[in-house]
């Protein structure tokens, strides 16, 4: 004689169900959105950056059509490269002191990064979304139990 009828089990609210991302499993969405190179027109520290921009930036931009490239003036300051990522973070790399191929390497670093904060991996335990392939050991499922 229940006055309120209850569902047999806890109901699932379908509009709230969602799936977890698996970037890279089938398709890969590159995480870098935009790279901005800020340089000074006059200072010598930006000379290599200006050379890179004049000679190599176009081919880098053509090789990465998924990234917006922009240049901006940053007068009387050291040159920087700023990368914007899909997680709304940005990475800033100063470009003074590098040769032209060093600057190319730093731009490539920005293009390869995911934008996530750099976490030290030495002491972290491995976390996985998939269960273990061989299963977790059970002392009751061996041939001779209680024998170590």
């Amino acid at each position: 004689m229940a006055s309120s009828s209850r569902a047999a089990t806890k109901p699932l609210l379908r509009a709230q169900l969602f799936s977890r991302p698996a970037n890279g499993h089938v398709s890969f969405i590159p995480q870098v959105r935009k790279v901005v190179i800020e340089f000074c027109d006059s200072w010598a520290s930006s000379a290599n950056t200006r050379t890179f921009m004049n000679n190599h930036l176009e081919e880098v931009a053509r090789a990465n059509p998924h990234v917006e490239f922009a240049v901006q003036q940053r007068s009387q300051k050291e040159p920087i490269a700023r990368g914007f990522y899909l997680n709304n973070r940005d990475k800033v790399i100063p470009l003074n002191g590098f040769e032209v191929n060093g600057i190319a390497k730093k731009i490539q670093l920005l293009l390869d990064s995911s934008g996530a904060k750099i976490k030290p991996l030495k002491r972290r335990a491995v976390e996985s979304t998939t269960e273990s392939a061989r299963g977790i050991w059970s002392g009751l499922h061996v041939d001779e139990t209680f024998k170590i």
């Binding site: 047999a8 379908r14 169900l17 799936s19 899909l86």
Partner: protein
């Protein structure tokens, strides 16, 4: 963070990423600059009275169209550069219909931009189609409610809004927050974002073919991880197992204690297996005999429901369409893959059906077996 702070943070992120000064004719915009016009040389008393300047920065930013570079890079990022060649289609896919009244209010003389209302509706249907056939072909014995929940998890509104954010469409979306009215529900940021992947699916279908749209959906939606195990819930797995086993025409399930340890201690462990004749259907552990038996019945049913067809053997009904360019009515060519429909599974049991006398109806397999037994006799 409270609701107001979250709104502020999301508005700030939106404003910061959408507009770049290089894409504007003049920045700051003329309407933002306060004060009387500089050309008036004689200061008459009437012109000294400062006109009030109503300029809302967030409204101005919301009205700016996305740059061509942003649209092009977005199209390349999702791998549709060769399929969708026009940035206008992508811009249309990223314009929610709530944006149109806002645009008309502030730019009454300009032509109204196209919205993604129709594309979103078409894309939603396509997503439902592809997700349902995929889930049904991959998990043929899944109960109906779980299959529907799985489809919602794969292509539902929450997932669509997550996918749009992960693609980087947040800076391209043009929309306007609208509150609840008697005729239509409220439109929040997640609803507007969710319309983008749907519209993109429809755009792929329109620009190319149904099978290209299917490939797009499999790539972005159906490759994601969904935990089906957590969606299958049991009230009485022993009863469900008894009914399921009888539908398959097998012997009644019997639970047997396989291993035990610590029976009278603080932490006993029992391992119980549930058997149909000599075949073990499932195994469960627990700190009490009842708990272990419950888990064994659960395990047996999960092994049946989560039976998965290997990906290389999955046959989808939509493979009977051809891969020619055009919609399903005009595309020419033959089917890209063979399709043999699977037997309709009879393994589903229903709890507490109202209106029945409580009699258990034998399933198709049991009937077939009894028929063949009668034939032999």
């Amino acid at each position: 963070m409270g609701h107001a702070q979250k709104r502020l943070a999301s508005t700030a992120a939106r404003l910061a990423s959408s507009v770049h000064a290089s894409s504007l004719k003049s920045f700051p915009p003329k309407e933002a600059l306060a004060g009387p016009s500089a050309s008036s040389k004689t200061k008459t008393p009437s012109s000294l009275a400062v006109k009030p300047n109503f300029f809302a920065a967030d409204t101005w930013a919301a009205l700016q169209p996305p740059t061509k570079a942003a649209l092009s890079t977005f199209t390349h990022r999702i791998g549709l550069a060769t399929t969708i060649t026009s940035p206008d289609v992508v811009q249309q896919a990223c314009t929610h219909p709530t944006f149109i009244p806002l645009f008309e209010r502030h730019n009454p003389k300009d032509p109204v931009p196209a919205s993604n209302a129709n594309l979103s509706a078409l894309g939603n249907s396509l997503l439902g189609l592809f997700a349902t056939e995929f889930v049904n072909a991959t998990f043929p014995h899944l109960p109906t409610r779980v299959m529907k929940a799985a489809v919602s998890a794969y292509v539902g509104p929450t997932t669509c809004s997550h996918i749009a954010t992960e693609m980087g469409a947040q800076s391209l979306l043009r929309w306007n927050r609208t509150s609840n009215t008697p005729t239509r529900p409220a439109v929040l940021h997640a609803d507007a974002m969710a319309s983008i992947p749907r519209a993109l699916t429809a755009a792929v279908y329109q620009q190319h073919s149904l099978l290209s749209a299917r490939k797009f959906v499999h790539k972005f939606f159906l490759s994601r991880e969904v935990d089906l195990r957590s969606m299958i819930k049991f009230r009485d797995p022993k009863l469900a197992l008894r009914e399921t086993v009888s539908k398959f025409g097998r012997e009644k399930p019997v639970s047997r204690l396989l291993k035990e340890t610590g029976r009278f201690s603080l932490s006993p462990v029992y391992v119980v297996g549930v058997f149909s004749g000599a075949d073990e259907l499932g195994e469960g552990f627990g700190s009490s005999l009842k708990m272990a038996e419950f888990r064994a019945a659960e395990d047996a049913l999960l092994r049946l429901y989560l039976t998965r067809q290997p990906p290389h053997l999955v046959q989808l009904p939509s493979s009977t369409f051809s891969s020619g360019v055009g919609d399903v009515f005009t595309a020419s060519g033959t089917a890209i893959a063979p399709y043999t429909p699977g037997e309709i599974a009879d393994s589903e049991v229903l709890y507490g059906s109202a209106g029945r006398t409580g009699t258990q109806v034998p399933g198709a397999r049991t009937l077939a077996m009894s028929e063949s037994a009668a034939d032999i006799q």
